[in-house]
């Protein structure tokens, strides 16, 4: 079936196929008759069209009701200059480019991307998901020649394009660190132990190490504190305000080139605080009785689990104090 694309705001004249101008015809849109006031002879006139005029238009000969012409009208706009972004989050493997249109065109668009490196044209392999994305593998490393990426958008009403030119090093930006965990440190009311992992998309942290930027603040304050770490994937905060809940984030960057990643998922943690007194006395009584008997008695469960420890990527409370206590008991019985 025939599709007719027209610009928003245009005046559209539809002819009833090969019928003469003075023939008697009836026009319908989506099955509904169109009033004669919109006709000029056998031509259908639509003025200043917008999306509301989208539909299936048919033209029938007056008396015989033969279908003489039909079309689908799609109102849209030619593409505006597309937005293109290229980034290497997996250096030195390669880079990807992704794009989108700043405003919708309301009609189908096709995208063509070309990557030129010096005199060579490289193929950017389109990703299945997400759709507007393609990736390229580096054939050479440490190139002095820039990459030139041109994206052309075409639809039935026009075309547009944009170009990006960059050095291999300029587009390196890792993904944020993963599995950020913040835990209180027992018997240390001003400390928080933070650990994280390299982003899984970074292929070779051995040869291309990452450095990290940590920021933290108590929820009640607006100002962040920052720490830059040149190696290691953990850090102990030693100046936390006692008893206050903290929000913590980490970002990553290649040690030498490129830009910082976005901030990681935020993690919350509160430093260790001393337990109220009556629970401690209960535990001490249990300890002295189990030393003289042969049966093993677990300390009260209310003291074991570390409520302050929260894993950022899942809601699992870590009960590692229990393990330590049980290990201590088993050593006593060797």
């Amino acid at each position: 079936t025939h599709i007719q694309y027209e610009r928003v705001g245009a005046d559209v004249t539809m002819k009833c196929g090969s019928m003469d101008w003075d023939a008697a015809v009836t026009w319908t849109v989506n099955g509904t008759d169109i009033d004669e006031s919109h006709l000029n002879g056998s031509y259908l006139i639509l003025k200043n069209v917008d999306l509301m005029q989208n539909g299936h238009y048919s033209c029938y000969e007056g008396s015989s009701w033969h279908l003489k012409y039909q079309t689908y009208l799609r109102v849209g706009t030619p593409p505006k200059e597309p937005v293109l972004m290229c980034r290497s989050n997996n250096y030195p493997k390669g880079f990807y480019c992704s794009w989108h249109l700043p405003t919708p065109t309301y009609i189908p668009n096709s995208f063509n991307i070309s990557v030129i490196h010096g005199t060579k044209e490289m193929v950017c392999e389109k990703d299945a998901v997400p759709k507007n994305r393609c990736h390229i593998r580096y054939l050479q490393l440490f190139s002095t020649v820039k990459y030139k990426v041109t994206l052309t958008v075409t639809n039935a009403l026009g075309k547009n394009f944009t170009t990006l030119t960059f050095d291999e090093f300029a587009i390196v930006k890792p993904d944020p660190p993963e599995s950020v965990v913040a835990k209180p440190v027992p018997n240390n009311p001003r400390r928080l132990e933070v650990s994280w992992q390299n982003p899984s998309s970074w292929p070779d942290p051995e040869s291309f190490p990452l450095k990290f930027f940590l920021r933290y603040r108590p929820l009640i304050l607006d100002q962040w504190q920052h720490v830059e770490l040149s190696d290691g994937t953990s850090h102990t905060i030693t100046d936390a305000y006692a008893g206050k809940e903290y929000i913590i984030q980490v970002a990553a960057k290649d040690n030498d080139i490129g830009t910082w990643s976005d901030w990681s998922v935020a993690v919350h943690a509160t430093p260790w605080t001393e337990e109220p007194k009556h629970l401690t006395t209960e535990a001490q009584i249990t300890e002295t009785t189990s030393a003289s008997t042969s049966s093993f008695m677990a300390p009260p469960t209310t003291k074991i689990c570390d409520k302050g420890a929260i894993v950022g990527s899942g809601a699992v409370a870590v009960c590692w104090t229990a393990g330590l206590v049980m290990a201590a008991y088993s050593v006593l019985f060797i």
Partner: protein, 216 residues
């Protein structure tokens, strides 16, 4: 009883490990420190070059100082050693080859830079170039030091520096200068990665631990 005693003794010994003297590892430690120093030097030079290149390109004038300037590479400029390398080849380089490539590259780049220094107009630019050349000389010596401490022979000296410039006209000469700075910049980026790899591969300091045997 006795087994508990051994356990406590071992714990105590292991806890005091950092305090034990390192035996027979001064060479490996030396190379490790030199690699770190060479790495730091490349980062310092890269930082210096950023401001120097900006000034020099402004001296050359447009289009060389335009950020989007992306000229095609003319065959004649290949005499300047290129840092560009096939990814798998780069990964597979032996320590010796990796160091030698750096040594050769900076030796030659230094020669060309010195020629540049002799031709430049302003006194300020001459002074900055001279300072940069001195730092670059330090880098070459540092790389040489690492190679020697690891027992590798130094590559043969660079070819005699070019006399009169080979460029036939003023514009082509400026192009040569542009590419020289580009290659230097790229080499400094590459060296940071080269020395990162070397840092991991140089054997760690070997420490011998002597435990006294107890009679049981």
């Amino acid at each position: 009883g006795d087994s508990w005693g051994i356990f406590t003794f071992l714990c105590a010994a292991l806890c005091n490990l950092p305090a034990l003297p390192a035996l027979n590892c001064s060479e490996e430690l030396g190379a490790g420190q030199s690699i770190q120093q060479t790495y730091d030097l490349t980062r310092y030079l890269e930082h210096q070059l950023r401001s120097l290149a900006g000034t020099y390109l402004n001296y050359l004038g447009p289009p060389f100082n335009e950020p989007d300037f992306n000229p095609p590479r003319l065959a004649r400029t290949e005499r300047v050693p290129s840092a560009t390398v096939d990814l798998d080849l780069w990964r597979g380089l032996t320590d010796n080859a990796r160091l030698a490539a750096n040594y050769r590259a900076y030796s030659r780049l230094l020669c060309y830079l010195r020629v540049l220094d002799g031709q430049v107009g302003t006194a300020e630019l001459r002074h900055r170039l001279a300072h940069f050349c001195a730092s670059l000389q330090g880098l070459v010596l540092s790389i040489g030091g690492v190679m020697s401490s690891l027992g590798y022979p130094l590559p043969a000296g660079p070819p005699a520096p070019p006399g009169a410039p080979l460029a036939s006209n003023d514009f082509l000469k400026k192009m040569d200068d542009f590419w020289l700075l580009k290659e230097l910049q790229t080499w400094l980026w590459r060296s940071a990665k080269d020395f990162n790899r070397l840092k991991k591969k140089v054997p760690p300091a070997v420490v011998t631990l002597r435990l006294e045997a107890r009679e049981f």
